[in-house]
């Protein structure tokens, strides 16, 4: 009896895990789709369609630790912009990046999920809650 229950429980767990994974896959592909729209409108001009940026001016988003590393730092870059020189893969870039705090939490979560999983990047998704939390810290 106990064993049966345990098996039943395990089955439930598996089932719920499976459906969780299912919704997050759906969630991610929706974020990727919407994130690309935000990217094309607000980021592409500087960082380019292939995410490789513009030499001397705008840094690449492909293969940089700023994109695939800390999510809070990444969210801050979009919310506050960047004007101090930073070194990205050994190079400096001379344009400033304006703050994009006018984007909604959802748009920021989507575009960051998109850049973390495009141009050869592979990193975790960014949620609306994570953006909301960072914005509240300002």
């Amino acid at each position: 009896m106990r064993i049966k229950l345990a098996i039943f429980g395990l089955g439930l767990m598996l089932l719920s895990n499976f459906s969780n994974a299912q919704t997050s896959v759906q969630g991610k592909s929706k974020q990727m789709l919407n994130g690309k729209k935000v990217y094309d409108m607000y980021c592409q001009a500087c960082h380019q369609a292939d995410g490789n940026g513009v030499p001397r001016l705008n840094p690449p988003l492909a293969g940089t630790v700023y994109v695939t590393g800390s999510k809070t730092r990444l969210i801050d870059i979009v919310l506050n912009g960047l004007t101090d020189p930073i070194e990205i893969n050994g190079e400096e870039y001379n344009n400033p990046m304006a703050a994009h705090s006018f984007l909604t939490d959802q748009q920021i979560a989507d575009v960051l999920t998109y850049i973390r999983n495009s141009f050869g990047n592979k990193a975790g998704t960014v949620s609306v809650a994570e953006v909301k939390k960072q914005r509240a810290k300002k």
């Binding site: 001009a45 490789n52 513009v54 001397r56 705008n58 001379n94 400033p96 304006a98």
Partner: protein
């Protein structure tokens, strides 16, 4: 034995391959012209200058082996510049030769080096400082230089801004009137070359209202300054209701001006629109795509398609090229980025026929093919990007590339 021969043969082959410049693309030129690669793989070669003895000087914006200036010399007169000299530990763009000196610039300082009678530099490690402390806020900080015939130096101090908004490059941020940047940037300053250790206040603001006049040359035929200016970015991205994607790629014009002392080219209030042939008020200053502005600003001689980045200007004074080229303008277009997702444009050298300082015909592409592809859909894939121009004593011209560090020599063979 056989094996050894094979290895030797392979090594020889490798040597031959190594001696060939890599990544070479075919440059297309008008009939009768030929090109030859004279330097390669030097990284960010920005502006260049050729001395009367044929020595080629290149200013690098990224140090190569710790040096920011390279000189190539053909020691034995066989047409190959086999001798390399490197000096200067700073990066930058500007370089020029005037009255016994080589001038070179970092983004805030103008240095000079003295030539001896054999055209060798006597103070390689101790250049004189001609002007120091020029505005360097990274954006548009390259200091291009040229000289007139009476001992003055002209330097471009680019505006560290897109269009002088309260918040630079912030969608929706209004433009500032008057634009405070114009006090110490956004124009051409004139300095006397008979003095050293000058600062901005020793010079005069020769002309204003220029976002970034990277191309700058003195026209000896008419004794005036000529410049090419990079137009503003982001008309479509900030104002999609006035400029659609295609229009935002074509506008504003990149511009070519004749500039007299005291002239104003109108930045940041207006941009040139080569479709309407008008100075159009920028939307950040109340413009709607049609309203004109800056009535006192001068108009350009030519408006080119947008964003192609005219990085260098050379008024041709040589005798080698056919007569139509004399006193005309060569302009090196670096190639665009702000046309995305439309294909990028530029990556070529253009010629504007001129007489008495005025264009006598339509501009035409003179040297093409530097990008190594057509169309250029991704800027990062372009092989070369024209950046600098120089004229040799024999009337050949040189084109530099800051993507792969190449320099081409272009000659006319009757």
């Amino acid at each position: 034995m056989q094996k050894i021969r094979l290895v030797v043969a392979m090594l020889m082959l490798l040597n031959v391959i190594a001696a060939q410049p890599k990544l070479q693309v075919a440059i297309q030129l008008p009939v009768g012209f030929t090109s030859k690669v004279v330097a390669n793989d030097l990284g960010r070669v920005r502006h260049i200058a050729v001395n009367s003895n044929g020595d080629l000087y290149m200013k690098l914006d990224r140090l190569v082996n710790g040096k920011g200036i390279y000189r190539l010399r053909d020691k034995n007169g066989d047409g190959v510049m086999e001798d390399t000299l490197a000096f200067g530990n700073y990066t930058g763009t500007g370089i020029g030769i005037n009255n016994g000196y080589l001038y070179a610039t970092s983004d805030q300082t103008i240095y000079r080096y003295k030539f001896d009678e054999n055209q060798n530099i006597v103070n390689l490690d101790q250049p004189e400082i001609v002007v120091d402390g020029l505005l360097n806020k990274r954006q548009h900080a390259s200091k291009s230089i040229t000289f007139d015939k009476v001992g003055n130096l002209y330097v471009n101090i680019g505006a560290p801004s897109n269009v002088c908004q309260e918040q630079d490059r912030q969608k929706g941020s209004p433009g500032l009137t008057p634009c405070p940047i114009l006090e110490n940037a956004g124009g051409i300053w004139q300095f006397n070359t008979s003095k050293t250790n000058q600062t901005l206040s020793d010079g005069i603001r020769y002309a204003t209202g220029m976002r970034n006049a990277l191309g700058i040359d003195w026209n000896n035929e008419v004794n005036d300054l000529f410049v090419t200016i990079h137009g503003r970015d982001m008309l479509y991205q900030y104002f999609p209701e006035m400029y659609n994607q295609k229009l935002g790629a074509e506008l504003p014009s990149e511009t070519f001006y004749r500039v007299k002392k005291g002239d104003d080219c109108g930045w940041p209030y207006i941009h040139w629109d080569h479709f309407q042939n008008k100075k159009i008020l920028n939307p950040e200053y109340g413009g709607d795509g049609k309203k004109e502005g800056a009535p006192n600003a001068i108009s350009p001689l030519v408006g080119f398609p947008g964003h192609m980045a005219p990085n260098a200007l050379l008024i041709y004074s040589g005798n080698q090229f056919p007569a139509k080229y004399k006193n005309g303008a060569f302009i090196a277009f670096h190639g665009s980025w702000n046309r995305t997702p439309e294909p990028q444009e530029g990556f070529y050298v253009v010629f504007v026929p001129m007489k008495n300082g005025l264009p006598t015909g339509k501009w035409e592409v003179f040297a093409d093919g530097f990008s190594g592809m057509s169309p250029v859909t991704n800027l990062s894939a372009a092989k070369h990007r024209p950046t600098g121009l120089a004229q040799g004593e024999d009337g050949s011209i040189y084109v530099s590339d800051d993507k792969a560090g190449y320099v081409w020599k272009i000659s006319y063979n009757k």
